[in-house]
């Protein structure tokens, strides 16, 4: 991915937005990663009949163009479904700024190149406020320097080194880890018979 993510930010202040809300289960009955854009936040975006819920921020101008979300605490809690990340990205989200993210959601985001800058509650609340103005707020997430740029301001964010490198390098973790095949074999050589799980067929 590029080292910066730039775009319009939409405020989503609710705390504890869980992956059932981010990707409702009816979209999970699939064996591919594709076709999940409509599922992203579906029950907030659409009513039961499939009509757009106009009071929801992503259905209003200018936020229908948003590629960044400013979110409440503990975003992405609940189930491990990576479909939540795939769907948000297929919908067009490239970065989510919040104070805390659930662990599995955070790792899933990293695997897919979705940037999750972590900021303190003060910065988050200021961004929520600015992003809520009708003219909209453009934010640049600079992964290299771990800084946010918006209006004439700058704010630092936290992102662990490994996540930062993974995003910047756009690396395939599976292939990369296989470079350590010898170390894995060596570790396995140290396992006794009783430590080698063999599941009955």
């Amino acid at each position: 991915m590029p080292s910066t993510v730039q775009g319009l930010a939409a405020p989503l202040p609710t705390a504890n937005v869980d992956t059932d809300v981010i990707m409702p289960k009816r979209f999970l009955v699939t064996i591919t990663r594709a076709g999940l854009a409509d599922g992203a936040l579906a029950d907030l975006r659409f009513d039961e009949t499939g009509k757009r819920q106009l009071e929801f921020v992503l259905n209003q101008t200018p936020w229908d163009d948003a590629s960044i979300l400013i979110v409440g605490d503990n975003f992405g809690c609940g189930s491990s479904r990576e479909h939540a990340v795939w769907g948000l990205m297929q919908y067009g989200i490239r970065g989510i700024i919040g104070t805390s993210f659930a662990g599995i959601f955070f790792d899933n985001a990293r695997k897919n190149g979705l940037a999750l800058p972590v900021v303190g509650p003060d910065v988050r609340d200021q961004l929520l406020e600015l992003a809520g103005h009708s003219e909209g707020l453009e934010i640049t997430i600079d992964i290299g320097s771990r800084q946010l740029f918006y209006e004439d301001q700058t704010a630092a964010f936290t992102m662990d080194d490994a996540t930062r490198t993974a995003l910047l390098k756009d690396r395939d973790d599976t292939l990369d880890s296989l470079k350590h095949a010898d170390a894995i074999r060596q570790f396995e050589a140290g396992l006794t018979e009783t430590m080698r799980v063999k599941v009955a067929q």
Binding site: G78, A162, T174, E188, R196, V197, V199
Partner: protein, 457 residues
């Protein structure tokens, strides 16, 4: 130096450090289900990779499993089940599918099949993999990309977590269960309060629990954000374990080990809890009231509370025991083990489910179901008017099969998540222990199970 149980487990599984601060950890055992694994197998395919060690994986059909009959309830779930079976056959991975006597909810099946032991590292594309902490094993949930990674390499990229100790000291009052302990912990620490932490539970109230109770506690630790949950392995844990032995260490924290965060909870002060809101930390004692919006100080908190009350269709100040229910559900990897069914049956025995209430029980596995039937529990439930399902799976815990609650339907549920829409769009979930669900089913409203035991209800 003194180490925590968590650090011992991580150290014992470290394969190597990686240049950017992560490490590779070895996965002793990996479990898959039908909905978070298909794209992992297609990833292998695309990259031309093999499964590193096929015998260390197990696949179980549970999330979309129909519970009224064996066959899939629709074409889409059949596709998921067939896809998993084909992938497992191709790669030589064990598959416990439809009609297999070992089938059931993954986290109920694994301990039953003796596939967990102290000192193991277990991964699964499911957040409730924390359950195995009950055995002093490190279990955690992973996403689909990581499922691909563990299939191809038998390892995961891993970043060491911070550690949290939750001490629950003292004795529980009669009628208070493991579910109430963990719901209390979630209430105190908060949903997300343990994000970034591995949570170790200790204290005599924890060690007094059966393995089933310990599994309930570790299972729901993910609801406070814990990426891992642990309880030191004692004799009880070793007795309940499978054949494998990982005896490199004593699987308990050393004396004097330090934690990044510590909580102390008095067991005697825990009452049976029920959730009133849409997050698992929104809970209250059964003799309490729906909270008052005006008691919140910040506008954000007021709005959040108001939204939860609106979704749940509740009034501030309403007595919890005045909440009428439409349905009762006993099931899920949190509370569908034989011990849970026995506790519910004890409440139900000789009573009738309230007129309007639709009460459903889905045993956690085929094995559990047969055991319950051998003990005659199914008869007790059926005579009381419960719908005793012949097949096992996740069912109404996440409503990915055809057991879906309706808009506005209010449920007493032994599950783990009361999120908006979890049990069906617009469905209203109240979490509680299986015995409390049973009591609510009989009464038609939320009720203190202790009144039943005293015979006053």
């Amino acid at each position: 130096m003194s180490r925590t149980l968590y650090d011992k487990l991580v150290d014992a599984h470290k394969v190597c450090d990686l240049p950017d601060g992560d490490m590779l950890v070895y996965v002793d055992f990996h479990i898959m289900n039908e909905y978070t694994s298909p794209q992992a197998f297609s990833g292998l395919e695309q990259k031309g990779l093999k499964v590193w060690r096929p015998e260390a994986h197990l696949s179980v059909v549970d999330h979309v499993k129909a519970t009224r009959q064996r066959a899939p309830h629709n074409a889409a779930s059949k596709l998921l089940i067939d896809n998993l079976e084909a992938n497992c056959r191709k790669h030589g991975i064990a598959f416990y599918g439809l009609g297999d006597p070992r089938q059931g909810i993954e986290h109920v099946v694994v301990p039953e099949q003796g596939l967990v032991a102290p000192g193991m590292l277990i991964a699964c594309g499911d957040s409730h993999t924390t359950t195995y902490g009950a055995f002093g094993a490190l279990g955690f949930g992973i996403g689909t990309s990581e499922v691909e990674h563990v299939l191809a390499t038998q390892t995961l990229r891993y970043k060491r977590l911070k550690t949290m100790l939750v001490n629950v000291e003292g004795a529980l009052a009669p009628g208070v269960t493991a579910k109430d302990i963990i719901m209390k912990v979630i209430q105190v620490v908060g949903a997300g309060g343990a994000n970034g932490y591995a949570v170790e539970f200790a204290g005599d109230a924890i060690f007094a629990q059966s393995m089933a109770g310990r599994m309930t506690i570790c299972n729901m630790a993910v609801e406070l954000g814990g990426r891992a949950a642990l309880i030191a392995a004692d004799d009880k844990a070793y007795r309940a374990s499978g054949q494998m032995t990982f005896d490199a260490e004593t699987w308990a924290s050393d004396e004097g080990a330090e934690y990044d965060s510590v909580f102390n909870i008095d067991a005697a002060g825990i009452a049976p809890l029920v959730s009133w809101g849409t997050s698992p930390d929104q809970s209250v004692a059964i003799d309490g009231m729906v909270p008052d919006v005006s008691a919140e100080t910040t506008p954000k908190a007021k709005a959040a509370l108001a939204r939860a009350l609106d979704y749940m269709g509740l009034e501030p100040g309403q007595a919890i025991t005045d909440i009428q229910i439409d349905s009762a559900f006993i099931g899920s990897c949190t509370n569908s083990r034989i011990e849970d069914l026995r506790a519910a049956a004890e409440v139900v025995k000789g009573r009738r489910v309230a007129e309007r209430v639709n009460a459903i029980i889905v045993p956690g596995s085929v094995f559990t179901k047969l055991q319950a039937e051998a003990e005659g529990l199914d008869i007790i439930f059926k005579e009381a008017g419960f719908d005793w399902r012949p097949e096992s799976g996740c069912s109404m815990c996440l409503a990915m099969n055809d057991d879906i609650a309706l808009e506005g339907e209010r449920l007493a549920s032994s599950t783990n998540r009361n999120f908006e829409g979890r049990q069906g769009r617009g469905a209203r979930t109240h979490l509680m222990s299986p015995a409390m669900v049973a009591a609510a089913a009989i009464s038609g409203h939320l009720v203190d199970v202790r009144d039943f035991k005293k015979g006053t209800a």
